[in-house]
Subunit: 249 residues, 2 copies
């Protein structure tokens, strides 16, 4: 067990941080999560962590890299439905949903920690407040889905792109994974296009527009926001949907 836990607690700190942004997390609760953890696995960019139709027996927590939820279309199209960052409990859903209705893929090299479902169920039997915290994390995922959905209906391609950049920066920043309005973003324009819901040709023009307006630069996988206020204004970005308020839940 000592072996098992080497480095594990450290690797879960970002995850704990994401909970502590919203409520307090007790010693016993933290310990229960550490004990529920199982394997550590890495994936190469492009690999699937979970595939549509799977019936996982464990949930996946992302500790390193960018992952995405996505759905493929018969015709060959792809739509991303979320981008996940270190500290995200990527498919906590599968604990109750059972059969995956979408896939989770690695956008970059990824490292994960797995949590067997039976251990998580035991957590729900024993620790109601921690259960609510896990539930809350999935509710915030849903809130992000709604935000993207509203963006698809109400915003232009350029606005949605700006919005996504704002979202990722804030979510990285609040857990100390980014600062100074810049962050590593080593994904392809094609992947970004699938997230924003437009073609790869068009995302290229949108990115160039954002660069020419001097809102951002993006080279060698490093994205820099030059004018945060202006980026927020064009995207009509409001972080309320991320629920970053610490209170009793």
């Amino acid at each position: 067990m000592a072996e098992h836990m080497t480095g594990l607690t450290e690797q879960l700190q970002t995850f704990f941080g994401r909970i502590r942004l919203r409520d307090t997390l007790g010693e016993e609760e933290e310990q229960a999560l550490v004990e529920a953890a199982s394997e550590r696995i890495t994936f190469a960019a492009g690999e699937d962590l979970v595939t549509e139709g799977d019936r996982p027996t464990r949930s996946i927590l992302l500790t390193r890299g960018y992952a995405c939820r996505y759905r493929l279309q018969k015709g060959g199209g792809r739509q991303l439905m979320a981008i996940h960052l270190p500290g995200d409990f990527v498919d906590l859903h599968s604990l109750l949903i059972k059969e995956m209705d979408h896939s989770v893929g690695a956008l970059t090299e990824c490292a994960i920690i797995t949590f067997p479902h039976d251990r998580l169920v035991r957590v729900t039997e024993r620790l109601p407040h921690l259960t609510r915290m896990l539930w809350l994390l999935t509710l915030i995922d849903a809130s992000c889905h709604r935000e993207w959905l509203a963006g698809m209906g109400l915003l232009s391609a350029a606005q949605r792109t700006a919005h996504l950049i704002c979202e990722i920066y804030v979510r990285l920043e609040v857990v100390g994974l980014a600062s100074g309005h810049k962050f590593n973003f080593p994904i392809t324009q094609a992947a970004l296009a699938d997230a924003v819901g437009i073609s790869s040709v068009h995302i290229n023009r949108v990115v160039q527009e954002l660069r020419q307006r001097d809102l951002i630069s993006w080279e060698n996988g490093l994205l820099t926001i030059h004018d945060w206020q202006a980026l927020v204004a064009t995207a009509d970005f409001n972080d309320r949907y991320l629920h970053l308020v610490k209170e009793q839940r």
Copy 2:
């Protein structure tokens, strides 16, 4: 208390049915929900059940009518993010989310039952399996959001419209609120346009196309599906995302 419960259990049957589609629901669990219920309220079409920015102290279960989650834009646009039917626990989210990041409105006259948050928290402290069932319902909501999101990126306006019709029919049908491929759908074309994410002019043309292809008819608030197979085919509809499988969760 006898007074309080008059008719209440009956009004919750559709809700219990939605849970029983996915797992068994024990006598004690059902009773706990009945006891957690509080007021019954009705709303006229167009009224808000909850408004963006509110901090509700109770959650709302819809027992009659159509409601929707929506977000407004400064410019005046509106995007629906879900349509809710009788038996849906509409803003169970607010139990943990606390501050509403969107509004819930009545598309038709609606009747609701309220559940004070403190009573629901007590349920989570006492009944882990029922807690997981409530959690599951919010996960299925999220799954619907993802489905709509994928549709926005991958499907045409006509396909999304067909998809929405399929979704509503199935969700009504599985709890016995519709059969024979028809259902009451007394909403305006403008509201449908906001759901599909297109203009009211364009939804009109889309609806006419669906009528001319003899897929549906829709008059006096009654929508009839004439060719279910063809409608499913055009929408590329697959009900997997509704998670209608009964199993241990």
